[in-house]
């Protein structure tokens, strides 16, 4: 078999660009989906029933759809509903945020529920409002507890961003597959792509393991 590994070097800028887009997608998605998850979680805990139902519906809907379907949906259907043409990057970002926010909402809910009722009462007894109790007492403790779970979500997300390649977002997967179809170097490009994902993903996974050990079993 005739292997030519120099294609990876030849196309290094395209690959680097892909890595950058993958990282940016991951960072932006998490930057939006963490506050997004908190908002959805708060909606689900609201005393206002319609808001509560909307929050639950959101979570149950987006958590149970395959991500790739969301990506296609955001690409083909969303522009028909809201009359704006988003870039492929923004479209992919929307799909990822819808999905990850739903997951994060559940994570935050579990974290908040794990804080004893007595902590809540201690805040209220000082005269704090429900919001102050949430912001000063419950959330800071909950976040510490769920940090390892959020980190795991991050690592999955990093790999799952590859799904947006189907709508021509120039992420690592998309660019690598582009190079493959231009050069017909299938084995080389798939191997290189795997190597890059692995080299970036492995340290993150190790970091998560460390966080699980460090923060996982507190109290």
């Amino acid at each position: 078999m005739n292997l030519d590994w120099t294609v990876a070097w030849q196309y290094r800028f395209m690959l680097a660009e892909g890595v950058l887009v993958t990282v940016l997608l991951t960072v932006f998605t998490m930057a939006i989906a963490v506050p997004g998850g908190i908002v959805v979680m708060l909606a689900r805990q609201s005393r206002f029933a319609p808001l509560r139902m909307a929050g639950t519906a959101y979570v149950e809907f987006f958590r149970n759809l395959p991500l790739i379907l969301l990506v296609y949906w955001a690409f083909y259907v969303l522009p028909m509903i809201v009359d704006i043409q988003l870039s492929p990057f923004a479209t992919g970002l929307v799909a990822l945020c819808l999905n990850v926010s739903a997951y994060n909402a559940e994570t935050f809910r579990a974290g908040v529920n794990s804080i004893r009722r007595g902590q809540h009462n201690a805040g209220l007894a000082l005269g704090m409002s429900q919001w102050q109790v949430m912001g000063r007492i419950v959330l800071p403790q909950a976040v510490r507890r769920i940090l390892p779970v959020l980190a795991s979500t991050w690592v999955s997300l990093f790999k799952d961003t590859s799904l947006v390649s189907v709508i021509a977002v120039g992420d690592l997967a998309h660019n690598a597959l582009q190079i493959r179809s231009q050069t017909f170097r299938v084995l080389e490009m798939l191997t290189v792509m795997a190597a890059i994902y692995w080299c970036l993903g492995y340290p993150q996974a190790k970091l998560v393991d460390w966080m699980h050990r460090r923060f996982g079993v507190s109290e």
């Binding site: 902590q119 009462n121 209220l124 007894a125 000082l126 005269g127 704090m128």
Partner: protein, 256 residues
Amino acid sequence: MTAYARIGAGTQPVIVYHEVVKRYGSFTALDRVSGQVNRGEVVCLIGPSGSGKSTLLRCTNALEPFDGGRVLFDGVELPRAESEARHVRRRMGMVFQNFELFPHMTALDNVAVGRVTVLGEAKAAARKRARSLLAKVGLSDKEASYPATLSGGQQQRVAIARALAMDPEVMLFDEPTSALDPETIGEVLNVMKQLADEGMTMVVVTHEMTFARRVGNWIIVFDHGRIVEEGPPAQIFDRPREQRTKDFFSHLGWGG
């Protein structure tokens, strides 16, 4: 009828309970409880566990909504709306059986956070106040410690300082020493005694009969969500009238 001059008698009571009813489903936790707490009094609530003492305390500062009757604080009926309840709660301090210190804050910030968050006081001023309160409960050297590194008795003293930081008009204690190792109970009771000597109005749920007898001015005996009898310590402990009070004391191994 009463042969004893109750402290604060004749002045407006700090707290009045009027036929308070609390139900959990079909279970009646408080069954038409009436009574009062006068200014400067140390009222001790005693009785078997499950008799409704904690429930009454939580109804006192509106942490628990109740189903019937009225609670008056400083002559004004407790508001039903949560948004108004907080204005009443900040005038009452509460100390819990399990301390409930905020584990992500230092001892100093535990004491200061109420003034900063609720009163909107500047952080520096709140901390200054917190410092003097930690000194008052004998914990000046623990300002920077996190709750997890403190003993139970130290944690409970921080919790008392935290409640005092809001300059409450009354302090509510729910079994403040029940979760403590025997050797640290004394340090907490001493702080409470000191507060009582300073004239603080206190409602104390306790199983510490020695404390109730020595520090309490008025004893209320609870059973099955009702007040069995009430009176000054000398009467309740030496000459209880009700059989259920006597049963409770003999169950505790206390006197006759």
